[in-house]
C-alpha cells in the first residue's frame, strides 16, 4: 500500500542538502525554546513554525510552502483540541507531513493512541539530543520512529491498537455509547436514564458487549474500553 509520498523525490534536486523544516507544537514556551535552540544549531534543519495551541499550528501549517516538514507535537497539549485531536486534523488536512508525538516518559497507551490518531512515531524528551534529532530525520524519510520507549513496548502498543480496532469494528454505535457511559461507573438503570432507554435494554446491550469483547465482567469491559481509547478519546466519533 502506498505510504506517505517520499518528500525529497518530489523536489528538483537543486540544493545538494535537503533542509528539513520542523514545526514545534507544545503548550510550554520554554520547551519550544529549548527544542528550537537544539534544532537551529544543526546545518540540515530549522524550525519553521512554533505554536502553543492546535489552532495556531493548523493556521501556521496552512501557510507553509516547504515540502519536507516534520511536525513535533507535545502530548501535553490539552483541552478540547488536544495533541491527539491535532494529529488527526493534520493527518486529514496535510497527509504528506510527517507527525511525531513527543512526551516525557509517555506510557504505551498514550503512544498507541498517538499512532492511531495519525502520528508516524513517538520520540521522548528524555532521549539523548543526537537520538532526538535523528528521529526527526528518520520520520521525514518515512520511517516509523520510536525513540525512548524500550523496544518491548512494541507488543503493548500493538495490543492497544488491536483493542481499538476490536471496539471500533465489532461493537455497534449503540453498544459503544453504552460502554462509554458504563465506564463512568453508572448503574444499568442510570445508564438507561442517560440514554433514554429501559434498564433491561441496557443489560442486554452489556451482555452483548461482554460477549463480543470476550470478557466476563463490567470491570473487564471498562478496562478494554480504556485501553481501546473509547473512553479517553471522545474525539474519535
Amino acid at each position: 500500500m502506498a505510504s506517505r509520498p517520499t518528500l525529497e523525490r518530489a523536489q528538483p534536486s537543486r540544493s545538494p542538502k535537503r533542509r528539513l523544516g520542523v514545526v514545534l507544537v507544545d503548550p510550554l514556551p520554554v520547551v519550544r525554546a529549548g527544542l528550537a535552540l537544539l534544532i537551529d544549531e544543526r546545518p540540515d534543519m530549522d524550525v519553521v513554525l512554533e505554536a502553543g495551541t492546535a489552532e495556531e499550528a493548523l493556521e501556521g501549517l496552512g501557510r507553509i510552502r516547504q515540502r519536507s516538514i516534520v511536525v513535533l507535537i507535545g502530548l501535553g497539549l490539552e483541552g478540547e483540541q488536544d495533541a491527539y485531536w491535532l494529529m488527526r486534523a493534520i493527518r486529514e488536512r496535510h497527509p504528506g507531513l510527517a507527525i511525531l508525538g513527543c512526551g516525557a516518559r509517555a506510557d504505551a497507551m498514550s503512544i498507541s493512541r498517538a499512532l492511531f490518531m495519525g502520528a508516524d512515531g513517538y520520540v521522548d524528551k528524555n532521549a539523548d539530543p543526537l537520538g532526538f534529532l535523528q528521529a526527526l530525520r528518520d520520520a521525514a524519510d518515512g520511517e516509523m520512529v520510536l525513540v525512548g520507549p524500550p523496544s518491548e513496548w512494541v507488543r503493548e502498543i500493538a495490543q492497544g491498537l488491536e483493542r481499538r480496532r476490536e471496539v471500533q469494528t465489532k461493537l455497534t454505535d449503540r453498544e459503544r455509547q453504552v460502554l462509554r457511559v458504563a465506564a463512568e461507573g453508572l448503574t444499568a438503570r442510570e445508564i438507561g436514564d442517560r440514554l433514554g432507554v429501559r434498564e433491561r435494554t441496557v443489560t442486554t446491550h452489556l451482555g452483548r458487549i461482554y460477549a463480543k469483547l470476550g470478557v466476563g465482567t463490567r470491570v473487564a469491559a471498562v478496562r478494554v474500553a480504556n485501553v481501546s481509547g473509547l473512553v479517553t478519546a471522545g474525539s474519535l466519533e
Binding site: 490518531m117 520511517e143 516509523m144 520512529v145 512494541v154 495490543q159 491498537l161 480496532r165 469494528t169 466519533e237
Partner: protein, 229 residues
C-alpha cells in the same frame, strides 16, 4: 548465575525445545549438553506435545519453531504457554524471515528471534542471554517490528474511518459477503428483498471505494474490518 563445572545442578537454565526437524532438535540438545549453565528439560516435535510437555517440566526457556506439523502452530503454542504461564522465556528459532513473522512473534510475547540459517550457531549464547532477561533481536528485527507497528496503526486508523461511515446493515452485509454468501442468501437471511440488498451493496462499494465484491472483501480484510475465519 554461576557456571557449573559438571553435572546438572539446580542453577542450570532448563531448556525445552519445540522443533519438528530431528537434526535441529539435536543441535539444540548438543548446545545444552556442551554449555555450562544450560540443561535440556524436554523436547517436542508438535505443538500439542509442546504445550503438554511444558505443563509438566516448567522450563526456563522454550526454543520454539514457528512452523510445526499439526493444528497448533508455533504462534499458537507461544500464546498457550503465555496464557498458562508454563514457560519462563520464549526464544523463536525459525526458517521464516519475513517481516510479518518477526512482528507476529513479538506480538505473542517472544523474548528472542533467531533465524535458522544465520542464527543457529549462536543458539547457546542466545539461550543464556534470554534466560538472563535480555531481549535477543537484531537491530534489523527491531526496525522491522517498528515499521510493522506503523503499518498496523495505519490499517487500524483506516478501518475505523471506514467503519464510522458504514451503517450497521452495511457492515452486516459486508460480513456475509466476505463469507461467500450470495446476494439471494443475504436477502433471505436478513429478511430483505434482493433489490434492497443490491442497493445496500452499491452504497457499501461507494463507501469502500471499490467496484466489485472481490475488491470489497479484500479491502475489508486488509484493513481488518472483517476477519477471515
Amino acid at each position: 548465575m554461576c557456571p557449573s563445572p559438571r553435572g546438572r545442578p539446580a542453577g542450570d537454565v532448563r531448556v525445552f525445545v519445540v522443533e519438528d526437524h530431528p537434526v535441529l532438535r539435536g543441535v539444540v540438545r548438543l548446545a545444552c549438553e556442551h554449555t555450562d549453565g544450560l540443561a535440556l528439560a524436554g523436547e517436542a516435535a508438535t505443538g500439542e506435545e509442546a504445550v503438554e510437555g511444558c505443563r509438566t517440566t516448567r522450563p526456563d526457556v522454550v526454543v520454539l519453531d514457528l512452523s510445526l506439523p499439526g493444528d497448533l502452530q508455533g504462534l499458537d503454542v507461544a500464546r498457550a504457554l503465555r496464557s498458562e504461564g508454563t514457560a519462563g522465556r520464549i526464544l523463536v528459532l525459525t526458517g521464516r524471515t519475513d517481516d510479518e513473522a518477526v512482528f507476529a512473534a513479538i506480538r505473542v510475547g517472544a523474548d528472542g528471534y533467531l533465524e535458522k540459517t544465520a542464527g543457529v550457531r549462536f543458539i547457546a549464547d542466545a539461550l543464556l542471554r534470554v534466560a538472563a532477561g535480555e531481549r535477543v533481536f537484531t537491530a534489523k528485527q527491531e526496525r522491522i517490528a517498528r515499521s510493522q507497528l506503523g503499518e498496523m496503526a495505519r490499517r487500524t486508523r483506516e478501518s475505523s474511518d471506514v467503519r464510522a461511515v458504514l451503517t450497521q446493515r452495511e457492515l452486516q452485509i459486508l460480513e456475509l459477503l466476505s463469507r461467500g454468501v450470495t446476494v439471494k442468501q443475504v436477502a433471505t437471511r436478513l429478511g430483505l428483498s434482493p433489490r434492497t440488498v443490491e442497493t445496500h451493496i452499491s452504497k457499501l462499494y461507494r463507501k469502500l471505494g471499490v467496484r466489485n465484491r472481490v475488491q470489497a472483501v479484500s479491502k475489508a480484510t486488509a484493513i481488518g474490518l472483517v476477519e477471515l475465519s
